[in-house]
Structure formats: structure tokens, C-alpha cells
Amino acid sequence: MANFPIPSTDSSTRWSRPRIARAVKSVAFGLLALVVCVVTVFPIYWMIVTTLRPTSLNLRYPPAVLPSQIDLTAFTQLFAEEAIGRWIFNSTLLALMATAICVGLTILGAYALSLLRWRGRGPFAIFLLMTQMLPEALIIVPIFAIYRSVTERGIPLRESLPGLALIDAAFILPIGIWILKNMFDSVPREVREAALVDGAGPFRVLFQIVLPLTRPGLVAVGVVAFFYAWNEYLFAQTMITRADIKPASVGLASMITMLDTPIERLLAAGLVFAILPVVFYALMQRYIVAGITAGAVKG
């Protein structure tokens, strides 16, 4: 490491010309890899550094790149002074409901798409693809009107977490079906046929043969559904205004407009909110990426 390569005209020495060229190349490549990593994580790094500094250091320009001290008061104050515990609880409840609806229906849909051959299969796949491509903002107005009138008739869908979970599930269902279908496709046909020969019915094949073999796929669907509802902002902030049932995405966004919130506390709240999805997506990455792209390609 300490010896800097000394250019030499003698090609038989250690630092011959092609060797230097290779060294230059690998340094250049290292720089490129560094650029990719910095672009990817710098914003997150900056968020973390900011949460570890007191306001006095954050409101200083130019900012220091490294944290000079580690100060966790932003986090302790966050839980002491903001309703974040309540918000996280609401988000968890909401996400669990959306996941339950989604996982149940996903199993049915993936079974029909992957393991069965039927006439309506193509149109069903296209129907799912279409709903998957639809922007939430396009139906927010009519769905708001529906929820308002249903609520007036005594079924509280507005200002209710179950009501919100119902829409969230509708939007995540198609992707969930693709992820699980992709897993079902990988179950060898012989395994299913053997069970059929043994006289098992279609539901026994599904629950006792196929599902146990595709458990990671089911977990991936759960993760995607849970965090779609957890992260979702547009429906949540349109349907829910009551403070006691506010999910965390809406609560966090409302902190932006409260000008007296110190920046490190605001970012600490964002970090707390983001940790779970990052951990779970990292664990299930393989299945989710494969499922989403397979869904988009196969149809």
C-alpha cells in the first residue's frame, strides 16, 4: 500500500506499463462504485447524522459532514412530546388489516392464475394488470364520494381504519397475486400430480402441498401488503382527519407544517417510521423483485 507505483520504462520490472494501466482502471472503477454508493445512501446518511445533532449544530452553514457528538435527545423527545407512539400503533393496525384481506384473496388469485388452465385466465390477468397500473389519484375523488355517502347511511368507512384498509388492499392485491403466482409456478408439476394420483382434492393440493413449499412467497406478499398500507399517504390523509386514528404517514406529514418542530426531531420521526420497511424489504428482496417483474412480464 505504501509503495506508490513508480512508472518504469523497463517492462520486466514489477510496474510494467499494462500493470499501471490496470491499476488506473481499477482505481477509476472504484471511483465509479463509490459514486453509485454515495448517490444511493447519502440522503439516508445525512438524515441519520442530522438526528444525532442538536439544533444549534444543524442550523449552521456550511454543515459538518461528520457528527461531532452523538446526541439522542431528538429520539427521546420524539416519544415524549409527539403522538408518534399512537401513530405507529394506528399504522400497525391498518397495515395488519390490509395484509389479512390481501393475503387471503391473493392465495385464491395466484392459484387460479398459476395452477389452473381456464378460459377466463387471460382476461383475468389483463384485468389485474390494468388495475395495477391505475394511479390512486384518479379514483380518490369518486371513492371519497362513495365513502362519504356510505358513512352517512350508517356504515362508517370514512374516518375509520378498516375503511382505509379496504382501499389499500384493493390497490396491492394485483401485485400480491403476481408475487405468489410466480412462486406457485416454481412448484414442480410432478409433486402436484403425485398428490392428485393419491386422491387429494384441489384444496388439499393447495394447502398441504403447494403453500408449504412456497412459504417465502406468502411472506413476501405479506411484507408488500403490510408496507403498502404502512406507507400510503394519499388515501389516508383524504379519509382520516381525526387525530386519534391518524396513521403515521399522515402524522409525519402534518409535522412538516408545524414550524416549531426541531429538524432533528422531525427526521428522527421519519427514521423511526422507515426502519421496519427497510429491514423487511431487505430480507424479502429476492422474492419481491422477482415477483413484481415476473408479474409485469408474464401476464
Partner: protein, 316 residues
């Protein structure tokens, strides 16, 4: 289990249709797929198709605040087509989509090519990719609002490296810079997923073919264009469509960063619909805008299906 999806047709065979293994089973299994699909179709019909229908219906009515709705035919459509603001929004939407596709897929490809090489810490670098991908929209906006703060934001430091920048840019208050910032944030959130997908596709590039090309005297660039690119181009095409859908659907990032401003510089159709309905309470006009957005979404979807069909045909 990787992205073998790219064109490989499914192996599932008729199983309950032919029933050769279980001849005594009653015929209800023929209806099984329909029974399975029914709850899903009903669910999506109630929560997605019916609202679309209601939106379409509302576009033919005029609803004064507190009054009864009145059939007005195509009057709302006439108003939309004659509204310069509508065309500005359409233009912003398309430019935004294009910019996000170019930046996110472009950088995603670059990152994938870099991470595809052998080097120490490669697994770690790939793992980093999941972080922005999994990071929820609202905290993403929080970070960037802070980084783009005109007084204390760290982006000012980076901008300061550019020779022609003399004072801190007013990021989200300047029309051009606001648009640029919104595209950048959206692309930052989008590119890691594209990168992961391209990385998976690069695994199917035959290494010996690249090797052979290199041995035959092709430069790395020539080898890339002759061998690698043709293999991953279906993936890139697919990602282009996915990125257009992703940017077209985008609401939260734009809404919380700029709210569509300044002076409509970042107002896409999604934002405009929301503003029209919930800020100006003009529900019938929001309905027409929704129909326009739906037509745009449908055309992207149809292009997508056409591409998909063609790719399937090429394989079989």
C-alpha cells in the same frame, strides 16, 4: 427463481381441466377457477371499477355546491379542452414522466453495470440498493426538504462546487429548479429497483460470449453493445414502461415537496385532480380531469401489453 420471468412461458399444465388422474371427481372442479377469481373480481370491481364509472358519470354532470346535480353533456369536456391550464398540466405530466424514466432507468443501468463487476464489498453495495427502494415516500420527502433547505441544506454545498453558482439556489421556490428537484427525488427513490432488476437480467448474459467477443478483439464498449445490450434490452424496455407508470402514479413526493408549485411548475395531472377536488371543491371538473388521466393511463397500459405480447411471441 431470479427474474427468469423475462419471456419464459409458464409450465403450468391443465390439471383439473382434464382430470385424467381422478376420473371419479365431480365436475364442479371445472368451475373452480371461476369460483376462485370471483371474489377478487368483485372486490376490484367495487373499489376500483365502480369508482372509475362514477368518475366518468360525474364528468357529464355539473354539481353546484350544496345544489342538485344537473346533466350538462360534454360541457365539462369543452371547458377542459379550452383550458390552457389543462394543457400545461398535460405537458408537465409528460415531461416529468420522460425525465424520471431517463434519469431513473439510465442511472439504474449505470449502477447495475458497475455492481455487476467483481469487487470486494459488492454484496454490501447491492444491499445498499434496497434502502432507497424500501424507504417510504413521506420520510423521503422529509430528508430532501431538509437537504434542499435554502439556508442550511447540504445540497447548497454540492451546488457550490459548480463554478457558476455564486449563492445558495432557492431550490423549491424557483420554477425550473423545483421541477429538477422533484424529478431527482422521484428518480432517487425509483432507480434502485430498476438496478436490482437489471442486475438480475445481467446474470443471464452468457459470460463466455462476452469473453469470446473480447478475445476476438472487441473493445469493452463493443462487447457491451454486441452481446450484453441485446440480452438485457427486453428488461430495459419493460423497466421503461414500469418507470412511466411509476412516475405517472406519483402523488406523495410531488405533493409534499412542492404541492404542484411554484406557479404550477410541478403540477402533474394527479396533483391537479386533487387540487381541483379538495382545494377548489370543483368535483365535476375533477371528474373530467380524471377521465383524461384515465385515457393516458390506458394508453400506457396498452403500449405495455403490446410490448409484452411481442416479447412473448419472440420467445415461443
Amino acid at each position: 427463481m431470479q427474474v427468469q420471468g423475462m419471456g419464459v412461458t409458464t409450465r403450468a399444465e391443465p390439471l383439473f381441466g382434464s382430470l385424467e388422474f381422478a376420473p371419479r371427481r365431480p365436475n364442479w372442479t371445472a368451475f373452480l377457477p371461476y369460483l376462485l377469481a370471483l371474489p377478487i373480481v368483485v372486490y376490484e370491481a367495487v373499489f376500483i371499477v365502480y369508482p372509475i364509472f362514477l368518475g366518468l358519470r360525474s364528468s357529464f354532470y355539473q354539481q353546484p355546491l350544496g345544489g342538485a346535480e344537473r346533466w350538462v353533456g360534454f360541457a365539462n369536456y369543452g371547458r377542459m379542452l379550452g383550458d390552457a391550464g389543462f394543457w400545461a398540466v398535460m405537458r408537465t405530466t409528460l415531461v416529468y414522466m420522460l425525465a424520471v424514466v431517463v434519469v431513473a432507468v439510465g442511472f439504474g443501468l449505470f449502477a447495475a453495470l458497475v455492481l455487476n463487476r467483481q469487487f470486494r464489498g459488492r454484496t454490501f453495495a447491492r444491499g445498499l440498493m434496497t434502502v432507497p427502494w424500501a424507504f417510504p415516500d413521506v420520510p423521503t420527502v422529509l430528508i430532501f426538504l431538509w437537504m434542499l433547505n435554502p439556508n442550511f441544506g447540504v445540497m447548497n454545498v454540492f451546488a457550490g462546487f459548480l463554478p457558476w453558482i455564486e449563492q445558495n439556489p432557492t431550490w423549491l421556490l424557483d420554477q425550473r429548479l423545483a421541477f429538477f428537484s422533484v424529478v431527482l427525488v422521484t428518480a432517487w427513490k425509483g432507480f434502485p429497483f430498476y438496478s436490482l432488476v437489471i442486475l438480475a437480467a445481467l446474470q443471464s448474459v452468457p459470460a463466455d460470449l462476452v469473453e469470446a467477443a473480447r478475445v476476438d478483439g472487441a473493445s469493452p464498449r463493443q462487447a457491451f453493445f454486441a452481446v450484453t445490450l441485446p440480452v438485457i434490452s427486453p428488461t430495459l424496455l419493460l423497466l421503461t414502461v414500469l418507470a412511466s407508470i411509476y412516475s405517472f402514479k406519483q402523488f406523495t413526493i410531488i405533493w409534499l415537496l412542492t404541492g404542484g408549485g411554484p406557479v404550477g411548475a410541478t403540477e402533474t395531472i394527479a396533483i391537479r385532480i386533487y387540487n381541483t377536488a379538495f382545494r377548489f371543491y370543483d368535483f365535476s371538473y375533477a371528474g373530467v380531469l380524471g377521465v383524461a388521466g384515465f385515457i393516458l393511463a390506458l394508453s400506457v397500459a396498452l403500449i405495455f401489453l403490446a410490448i409484452q405480447r411481442r416479447q412473448e411471441r419472440e420467445v415461443s
